[in-house]
Amino acid sequence: MRIIDAHTHPVMFKRGLTRPEVDRLVKHGRKLGVETMIGLGDVLLYGRSFTAEQIVEVNDDSAKVQAMYPDYFRFFCFLNPRLGEKAVMREVERCVDKYGFIGIKLEICNNARDACMKPVMEAARRWKLVVLQHSWSQINIRQRSFHTDPADTATLARRHPDVPIIMAHLTGCGVRGVIEVKDLDNVTVDTSGGLADEGLLEYAVENLGVGRIIHGSDLPGRSIGVSIQRVLGARLSAAEKERILFSNAARLLKLG
């Protein structure tokens, strides 16, 4: 079965940048059937307050990995929306024009409902990019001033219905997260997150429709073997598994 891993961090805290490390990751991915990895950058390298220079550094590191295996990796442009419209537009333009990045990645620099998201979404609209928003239930974490709850991702999607959004981390968002975005057709959910709660993937398929779920591992902290088996072991048809593991991401991200 063909597989796209739509949520990976090939470089994390500067590890994964060397040729042998990248070779090893690609070999492992290919062995498990992953034919394309979507890289999202070293998004926690400087905590949650990246300067413009640090953002450039992270995206340049992503580009280095992409250059080693241009047919295997496609990257999203990591942004700090708090840096403002000018910095956001400049970095998106640079990453799209220079590196061919295909999406925008947002982590924990701010909450997705903040006003600083407006230029980010405008950039996504202008360059026709998908926005992947880190999302995790804040009921127990309680960091909502900068950490996005699924309800906040839903707010973002409601404000920008013409921008395709990936709500990251099905497990972190849980049943409540699925319910939050149920009526928002511009939101797709990736399967990454913590331990694979039994039945949650089937619940998401039942409530969102299979077309709105894509496979992601969140490596290196998580395992590709686990994320793939989560899908393959689910009570879903072969056609549904194929869509989650490959076709949905291929269509959303316009991958050949």
Binding site: I139, N140, I141, G174, L195, S223, Q229, G233
Partner: protein, 257 residues
């Protein structure tokens, strides 16, 4: 062959996962390639004393050769000796499980010394549950955290002759505990990384690790994916999947295919 050391019967009140019979659980495990398991009762987490849940477990697993009953004892209750004696007398029991954080006692408690002596007397092994549920995803009103590493370390140092299996240690906790104590084993239910073996190498030997899934609350198939990590040798994979657990639970050699 895969043996699951962290498996349950019963329901978790904050989960949509339906209750399963032992046969249904066996089928679910088999579908994911898991051959056998040590099974504990989830009801013992919440009920005021564990024996009714243990008795239901013994009845449910009677005659089920795939399963080793792993009953729960609450040593903070005055009747812990009776609990232990009844568990030790039940067919197939080779170990007992503790839920310290769910039963509101600390592993530094004085009564645990005679409890450990009694375990030795009954020739029972010990399983300590560091956590079942990821604290980030728990029910909002259930303010229960994992067992602190410091408490586990204090217990292990106070009982150097005991080598318990600790289930549910997080990615950070297992190496922290291993840095200060050698007399414990751990399951991999919460251990995950794209290069799991490399992450654990030098911190926790595969001779001390066992496969645990947290079934039926967590996808067993997903958990078995950890065994496909690229950097485990075939021998290491066998140890984690089966051999270490077989030794711990005294599974007869003939069954060790």
């Amino acid at each position: 062959m895969i043996f699951d050391v962290n498996c349950y019967l019963g329901t978790w009140p904050f989960s949509l996962v339906p209750e399963m019979s032992a046969d249904q659980l066996a089928k679910q495990l088999a579908r994911a390639g898991v051959d056998a398991a040590a099974v504990s009762p989830l009801a013992a987490v919440f009920q005021p004393e564990p024996m009714p849940a243990n008795r239901a477990l013994f009845a449910a697993l009677r005659g089920k050769r795939r399963f080793v009953p792993l009953p729960v004892v609450n040593p903070a209750l005055a009747n812990w000796k009776e609990q232990l004696e009844e568990c030790a007398a039940a067919p197939g029991v080779r170990a007992v499980r503790l839920y310290p954080n769910y039963h509101d006692y600390r592993l530094t408690r004085r009564t645990l010394r005679p409890f450990v002596d009694a375990l030795e007397h009954h020739r029972l092994r010990l399983v300590i549950t560091a956590r079942i549920e990821d604290e980030r995803h728990r029910y909002f009103a259930l303010r229960i955290k994992g067992v602190p590493v410091a408490d586990l370390a204090a217990f292990l140092k106070a009982n150097p002759g005991t080598v318990p299996l600790v289930t549910g240690l997080s990615v950070n906790e297992a190496p922290q505990l291993a840095a200060v104590c050698e007399n414990f084993l751990a399951d991999i239910s919460y251990q995950e990384n794209v290069e799991l073996a490399a992450m654990l190498r030098g911190k926790l030997s595969t001779s001390r690790l066992m496969f645990g899934s947290l079934a039926p609350l967590v996808s067993v198939a997903a958990q078995t994916g950890k065994l496909s990590a690229p950097d485990f040798s075939a021998a290491e994979r066998r140890r984690i999947a089966f051999t270490n657990a077989a030794r711990f639970f005294s599974i007869p050699h003939a069954d060790r295919r």
